[in-house]
């Protein structure tokens, strides 16, 4: 995958909203951006600490936390027993005593083992007795890596449906950095979906510093166009950008909105693009039924119906587990070809 300069457009605009001087932008991979965001917050705030399986000496299953235990010690980069449930509950308890734990799921798939702690305890606590739960859970998700049903899941919708949580899904190194720092500072539990597929395949500029924060709840318009809007997030942003570039050569103006935050949704940006083009194509790697796309579609149907010139359309994975064998996974996972076909159909509507 190659870096598309357009991807950075939204982020540059955001950087202008910051107060602090912009540190020299660096070229980082998506994975390095996550690591550097962790390092930045660990250095800045002694309350920040990391919890996870194999994240210390080993540096994490994907080496995201490599080098951090050497810099911050085992009191702040904590290798835990193999218990997602125990880990997330412990993070909640630590947060009650002033810490801001960042918990690594080895894969997003294993977050189900910690489900109760997230959706029952962390998500409800502030509403019930007023005590905030400032924890961040990093969930390396999504597919395309031939990793099979239990290492490829895009299960973000479970949490988008849960009041009290915030859910983010960066698509670029700049947002991987900026959203992680924002998540750690947020006083609420935030699930941070990082896309394994982009870890080393995507490199891009990362502003770093206070000006490089990406606010939670703000989508980024990656590309402007008049005829059709593609609304997406995560790795699919890049597939959508490829389709948009391709269709532009055929004379079509395609707008691409990168949601970046899945909860709360940036309703203003979603409605603005829907009203502008009148044709909406929603794309996600997660399976279709009750996915984030369903909520985006409902929002547009409720609030921008009069602007629509065609059916709100979804490209999503079918409702099956994520299969392993390459031809099966390719059939399962949305990609530029599938998005292009759907876009073409909608353009012709």
């Amino acid at each position: 995958m190659t870096w598309d300069a357009n991807l950075h457009a939204g982020v540059t605009t955001l950087a202008e909203t910051g107060n602090a001087p912009l540190e020299a932008a660096r070229e980082l991979t998506y994975l390095e951006a996550i690591r550097e965001a962790l390092r930045y917050e660990l250095r800045r705030d002694p309350a920040v600490l990391l919890l996870g399986e194999d994240i210390g000496v080993y540096g994490g299953a994907f080496k995201v936390t490599q080098g951090l235990i050497e810099e911050f010690g085992e009191q702040r980069v904590i290798d835990t027993p193999m218990t997602e449930l125990g880990m997330i509950y412990a993070a909640i308890g630590m947060s009650f005593q002033g810490f801001r734990p960042v918990v690594e799921m080895q894969f997003a798939d294993f977050i189900s083992t910690g489900f109760d702690a997230i959706v029952q305890f962390a998500a409800t606590n502030h509403y019930r007795w007023g005590q905030p739960v400032p924890i961040t859970i990093r969930a390396p998700g999504a597919g395309g890596l031939r990793a099979g049903p239990f290492h490829s899941q895009s299960n973000e919708a479970w949490f988008v449906h849960t009041p009290g949580l915030k859910v983010v899904a960066p698509a670029t190194p700049a947002d991987a950095w900026g959203l992680l720092v924002s998540a750690i500072r947020d006083p609420n539990p935030v699930i941070y979906y990082e896309t394994k597929y982009l870890y080393r395949s995507l490199k891009g500029p990362v502003a770093g510093g206070e000006a490089g924060l990406t606010p939670i709840g703000v989508a980024a318009l990656r590309r402007e166009g008049e005829e059709l809007s593609i609304i997406t997030y995560g790795a699919m942003v890049h597939e959508a950008m490829a389709v948009a570039a391709d269709l532009e050569r055929a004379g079509h103006g395609i707008e691409v909105l990168d949601l970046r935050t899945l909860k709360p949704l940036d309703e203003t940006a979603i409605l603005a693009t829907a009203r502008k083009t009148g044709k909406v194509l929603i794309v996600h790697e997660a399976n279709r039924t009750c996915g984030v796309g369903g909520e985006v579609a409902a929002l547009i149907a409720e609030r921008a119906f009069e602007s629509l010139d065609g059916p709100i359309t979804r490209v999503a994975a079918p409702d099956t587990p994520v299969p392993y064998s390459p031809p099966l996974e390719d059939a399962h996972r949305p990609d530029a070809a599938k998005i292009r076909a759907a876009a073409q159909q909608l353009l012709e509507y």
């Binding site: 600490l49 009191q75 835990t80 027993p81 218990t83 449930l85 125990g86 997330i88 509950y89 412990a90 993070a91 909640i92 308890g93 630590m94 947060s95 009650f96 005593q97 002033g98 810490f99 109760d116 702690a117 029952q120 305890f121 409800t124 606590n125 502030h126 509403y127 019930r128 007795w129 007023g130 005590q131 905030p132 739960v133 400032p134 009041p163 009290g164 915030k166 006083p187 609420n188």
Partner: protein, 321 residues
């Protein structure tokens, strides 16, 4: 070890207050002023009060639905508790959470529990972990039942506490039943404390209806935890003397079992001890009960005079700002 006079008289007050508040709540439930679930405390007063008293003011506890005494001992006022039961804006959770759930107030070192047992045990492990990381001489205490003991989290949290040698005390309230399920359907072992060996921590068994026994075990465990000696699992043997909740007539519990345990009532036990040591007589008891009654009248009046939460606030407070 002979416990000091003042501690015993104090404990007696808290245990009597716990029972009286519990009975007051049951009465309000009968009057349909409290609606929904209501959990009885009868039989558990020695455990919750003794465990609560074993903690210091800066320690943190996560009591559960049979631990009303621990909330009281840590300073949660009956006014706020009755207002909570009545769903009022002045209740601990401001009408958001039901009965004893969600009665959290960190200024009192209290964590509000969720229904999912034994969730608080995991949270308490994190609190204890924070104390250890900060090098603070504080202790965190968890409570769970014989039913909660069957959940994976009981294992995960105890193991965690031991691996990290956390300043944590776990009070297991083995009251023979989890709703209608008897102990034998919960586990094949007789003592839950035996599991402590599997985690590499001490497991202690005490008579949960004997205030002195629970207090001594809990204080020792708290001391040990505070001194850096790691966690302890204390199993308190007791009996749930009412149904699981107020709707449940517990027809499934053999009468003889209840009769046996009725003779071991924790309040009768501490009162016998106080009388034996010349610290209580009929007049003293009558005066204490009257004082408690007055306190609860006042608390109830406050709770009933309190407003319900404003329905226009229903969507507020989901997120911290």
């Amino acid at each position: 070890m002979e416990l000091p006079t003042e501690l015993l008289t104090q404990a007696h007050y808290w245990m009597r207050l716990t029972r009286a508040l519990d009975e007051r709540g049951a009465f309000l439930h009968k009057q349909s002023k409290i609606i929904g679930g209501y959990f009885s405390q009868i039989g558990h007063e020695a455990i919750s009060v003794a465990a609560g008293l074993a903690l210091g003011p800066d320690d943190v506890a996560a009591p559960m639905h049979r631990d009303l005494g621990a909330y009281l001992v840590r300073g949660l006022h009956p006014r706020r508790i009755l207002a909570q039961f009545l769903g009022r804006a002045t209740g601990v959770s401001r009408g958001r959470d039901a009965n004893l759930h969600g009665m959290g107030d960190l200024s009192l070192g209290l964590i509000g529990f969720i229904s999912h047992l034994p969730a608080s045990t995991g949270v308490i492990a994190g609190v204890a972990h924070a104390f250890k990381l900060k090098g603070e001489p504080r202790v965190a205490m968890a409570f769970f039942g014989d039913g909660g003991a069957s959940q994976g989290l009981a294992h995960e949290a105890l193991n965690w506490a031991s691996v990290f040698q956390l300043p944590m005390v776990v009070i297991c309230e083995n009251n023979q039943y989890a709703y209608s399920t008897p102990l034998a359907r919960q586990m094949r072992i007789e003592h839950i404390a035996d599991r402590a060996a599997g985690y590499g921590m001490p497991g202690v068994i005490v008579d949960g209806n004997d205030f002195c026994a629970v207090y001594e075990a809990a204080s020792q465990a708290v001391e040990r935890a505070r001194a850096g000696g790691g966690p302890t699992l204390i199993e308190c043997k007791t009996m749930r003397m009412r149904g699981h909740a107020i709707h449940d007539n517990m027809a499934y519990v053999p009468t003889e079992l209840l009769e046996t345990w009725a003779r071991r009532d924790p309040i009768a036990r501490i009162e016998a001890l106080l009388r034996e040591r010349g610290l209580l007589d009929d007049a003293g008891l009558a005066a204490l009960l009257e004082r408690i009654d007055r306190e609860l009248d006042e608390a109830q009046a406050h709770a009933e005079a309190s407003p319900y939460p404003d329905p226009s606030e229903v969507t507020q407070g989901v997120y911290a700002q």
